[in-house]
């Protein structure tokens, strides 16, 4: 007897149909333009769940939307100013087809939003979530989760985890909620045998050998810790960066945000939180114009130090999850892989 189960591929849709009755379902869906995006699924019969390609977005936007209202305010006169929490109903949500990089990213978001102070907006969405993962048998061209050590397979952090074994999925659980799903819908699951577990291990070994990018992340982490990254690297990258914020927006672990007021009438408005990026020149600029960061020479420094130095120091692991999305989006040539490679080349 193992704690592992088999879900036949024919049973996947029927199972999702059952789960969808009690949960909002979010999964990678290929749209009519051929793009794969994590999408809220209204009708399972009208979409194509795509487990072949990497979703262009991560789960970040669902837990930490690009823009969200923190509360509303009104000030009918100078001597009155009221603040009203905005009641948002977050339905229980099942995230399906979450790859190890995106799963690791959610676990990192937990640290950011729940460790210092408990962010109420995040907490509500996270408490209501079930994560069903999918191990990666075929890492994509820009992937390097082997270097960040959270993939291509993972064994923790999910509620349920699937491994594609051709005609069937091997299913594991890590949280009690995952176990509950298996017991509740026992008719879809068969006990896994020794052969299935062996097949999973074989798939893992094969996946591990399929990475196309060589990323010497450990070496870069070491150089940062020992303060051996030359100023010329920061300068070159900072000058090249086009300040578009694309890397931060697409990154599943970039969480910097700004807060501002959105005036909706003369005497009312909403306090809004929106995604921000530490690479933007206004990010550190204070009232009056003083900026404690030399933007031209070191504008991009914070981004890489945060992920590969400060978080390593604090939590003993980098907060880059190796998903490779920034590699594909950066047109300035200042993505994290370039930084790592430049840093490591400087040595030789």
């Amino acid at each position: 007897m193992t704690d592992k189960y088999i879900l036949k591929k024919d049973h996947l849709l029927p199972l999702l149909r059952k789960l969808k009755k009690t949960h909002r379902l979010i999964a990678p869906v290929q749209n009519r333009h051929g793009d794969t995006l994590f999408t809220v699924i209204d009708n399972l019969d009208e979409v194509r769940i795509d487990l072949e390609n990497q979703a262009q977005n991560s789960l970040k936007q669902f837990f930490f939307p690009q823009q969200e209202t923190l509360f509303s305010y009104s000030n009918p006169a100078g001597d009155s100013y009221h603040f009203e929490p905005v009641a948002e109903e977050i339905p229980p949500t099942l995230y399906f087809g979450v790859r190890p990089c995106d799963l690791a990213a959610v676990l990192y978001l937990d640290v950011v939003f729940l460790k210092n102070a408990k962010d109420p907006n995040y907490l509500q969405k996270r408490q209501n979530s079930i994560l069903v993962g999918l191990n990666c048998n075929d890492p994509f061209a820009s992937c390097f989760c082997n270097a960040t050590r959270n993939g291509p397979f993972t064994d923790c952090g999910f509620d349920l985890q699937l491994t594609d074994l051709g005609d069937r999925f091997l299913v594991e659980y890590d949280r009690s909620r995952g176990q509950e799903i298996i017991s509740q819908w026992r008719q879809f699951f068969a006990q896994a045998g020794e052969q299935d577990v062996k097949a999973q291990y074989q798939a893992f070994l094969e996946a591990r050998g399929k990475f196309k990018l060589q990323v010497h992340l450990d070496q870069a982490v070491k150089k940062l810790a020992e303060d051996e990254v030359p100023d010329s690297v920061w300068e070159e990258l900072s000058m090249r960066c086009q300040d578009c914020g694309g890397c931060a927006y697409i990154c599943p672990t970039c969480t910097c945000f700004t807060i501002s007021d959105l005036q909706t009438s003369d005497h009312a408005g909403e306090r809004i939180r929106s995604w921000d990026a530490c690479t933007f020149s206004g990010f550190t600029r204070m009232a009056g114009g003083h900026n404690p960061v030399d933007r031209q020479m070191r504008g991009i420094e914070k981004r890489f130090r945060h992920k590969l130095q400060f978080d390593v120091k604090k939590d003993n692991r980098p907060s880059c999850v190796g998903c490779g999305r920034c590699v594909n989006i950066c047109f300035g040539g200042t993505d994290i892989v370039r930084f790592i490679n430049m840093t490591c080349c400087e040595n030789s």
Binding site: L70, F71, Y73, N75, G78, D79, S80, Y81, H82, F83, P85, V112, F113, N116, A117, K118, D119, P120, L123, T255, C256, F257, T258, I259, S260, D261, Q263, H267, G269, R271, R273, D276, C278, F283, T284, R285, M286, A287, G288, H290, P292, V293, D294, K302, R305, H306, Q309, F310, K313, K314
Partner: protein, 281 residues
């Protein structure tokens, strides 16, 4: 006191009880929370800050310039610097702002007891130190207190009522200087570092607390190092752009520290381990 997690970002209305014009650029707003019950339970420590909300202008971090013993009201001294502070300067007695906090690591008040204290401030920098000075005086600080305060011109000298009181307090010496004199000014002209030369200090028995523009801080640090002050005996409070105030949004990063949570008060010893532009010059 912060925060019921549900209210993490939710300010509470606070009424302006009085507005004191310190100079053409700085006003001190005397505030109390509209919710009396909340106000009576509210407390803070010198060096902490509040996030201030002004309608349609968002929020800004402002350090508290009063002391918890100050008759219950909260003083926020605000320099006109951007959109929010401009709007705040237009507000009058009876108007309502939003406040949340207090946030940040305060000055190490227990470490100050039993030490000579040297306060060096420039401009609005006296605001957070005022909270420390008055707290020390209220607690009957038995050792010598030296206050050095630099302003641009004599009409820029803020907190005049406090300066007058401190000047007449036993064990306290209070020296002022200005960058540019005006007719009628008979006091010192020049940098606060020149005032330091007039002071007889015992570095090993002292703590120095600084707050002011980066240029002043750098000059004073050099002078204090020359006088034999140890890095752990020099304390300052840092200013950074902030949005959340609670250690999440990361605007106020200073290497691996966040000014809102790990600061804003730091010793020089701590700052030297970080890459801080203000110290590099």
């Amino acid at each position: 006191m912060p925060s019921q997690q549900k209210d993490l970002y939710l300010p509470r209305p606070a009424e302006i009880r009085e507005v004191i014009a310190e100079n053409s650029q700085i006003k001190t707003f005397v505030l109390s929370f509209v919710d009396r019950q909340y106000h009576d339970k509210f407390s803070y420590a010198p060096g902490q800050f509040l996030m201030v909300s002004i309608p349609h202008c968002g929020e800004a971090p402002i350090s508290v310039s009063s002391t918890p013993a100050n008759g219950g009201t909260i003083h926020l001294s605000v320099r006109r610097a951007g959109k929010l502070t401009e709007a705040m300067h237009d507000m009058k007695k009876g108007d309502v702002v939003g406040l949340r906090g207090p946030y940040g690591r305060p000055f190490p008040m227990t470490d100050l007891a039993g030490r000579d204290l040297l306060f060096v401030a420039g401009g609005i920098g006296l605001a957070p130190l005022r909270s420390v000075i008055n707290t020390c005086l209220a607690a009957g600080h038995g050792r010598r207190i030296t206050i050095l305060y630099g302003s641009r011109t004599p009409s820029d000298i803020a907190f005049q009522a406090d300066l007058a009181t401190w000047g007449q307090t036993a064990n306290v010496s209070c020296l002022l200087t200005v960058d540019r004199a005006e007719p009628g000014w008979e006091g010192d002209v020049g940098l606060v570092t020149a005032l330091l030369a007039q002071c007889c200090l015992a570095p090993r028995e002292s703590k120095a607390l600084l707050c002011g523009p980066p240029m002043m801080i750098r000059a004073v640090l050099a002078e204090l190092a020359g006088r034999g002050f140890a890095d752990e005996d020099i304390i300052t409070t840092m200013e950074r752009h902030m949005k959340c105030g609670v250690g999440i949004c990361r605007h106020c990063h200073m290497d691996d520290k966040l000014v809102c949570k790990d600061g804003p008060v730091f010793t020089l010893e701590e700052l030297k381990r970080l890459n801080v532009l203000e110290l590099r010059g």
